[in-house]
């Protein structure tokens, strides 16, 4: 359980930060604000192009780029695989970032 100092994180600012991070790092030609919070960001493995039009259909190399971007931007550590199912949409990703930011000590202890 997280003990000690925790900071409250505004989920909306995290979402906006994520959208601009994704657009900037991946050099996407879309407006950050046009990315829907609930839309899937990634294409399912082996189904490239499936359901194009709703999400951005990002691939695993781009996921890695986002991981590195989040770590640099917010100073958190994202452990491999443990959070893979949170790499779905802006909604789930922002929840992950908020959780990491609000419990840095607990997360660090859990991963050590």
């Amino acid at each position: 359980m997280p003990v000690g100092v925790t900071q409250s994180v505004d989920i909306e600012s995290v979402k906006m930060g994520l959208k601009s991070l994704i657009v900037e790092r991946l050099k996407l030609e879309v407006e950050p604000a046009s990315i829907e919070d609930g839309a899937p960001l990634f294409s399912a493995a082996g189904e490239a192009g499936a359901e194009a039009g709703t999400g951005l259909a990002l691939d695993s190399v781009e996921a890695l780029e986002i991981v590195v971007g989040i770590e640099e931007k917010w100073g958190v550590v994202i452990e491999d695989d443990s959070v893979a199912n949170e790499f779905y949409s802006i909604d789930t990703l922002s929840g992950l970032v908020k959780r990491l930011l609000e419990a840095p000590v607990a997360e660090a202890a859990a991963s050590a």
Binding site: S60, V61, A63, L64, E65, D80, D81, A84
Partner: protein
Amino acid sequence: MREAAASVEPAPAAVLELTNPSGLEIEAIMEILPHRYPMLLVDRITRLEPGVSAEGLKSVTVNEPYLAGHFPGHPIMPGVLIVDALAQVAGIMLRTGVRAKRAAAGQTTGEPGRPGVLAAIPRMRFLHPVLPGDQLRLHTRHVKTFANTHLVEVEGRVNGEVVAHGELVLAS
């Protein structure tokens, strides 16, 4: 653990070599990498921390087949081949990392570690030409792994001077 692996696996030589801190000779490299002439671009691994970092050597001679055309009368090692040499050392670093993890978990069977296909070149700079007679020192350091993609920091040096540096992404 090593004894057990040797008695079960038919070709455990490379696995045994991994515990040798002085590095890997070409025979061990060829057990880890599928690359062959003319695309095997690392001659020796001089330092290896499986999954973490590695250092390899590529000795460049005028007899390299690609130097006949790159360029006639003015041989320079192509930058893309420096990239591939670095990617090959990164591949050895990652594959031995997978094997080391499996060995630590007591697994002596299963598929060999296969990370190593170049998936992206996010950043690469070439600072000096690499010429026949140069010994290219290939440094790789694992930065981040996520969902079967591996970000690796790489650097090539000749006589201590940086000739190329950048980042590569390898995929499993």
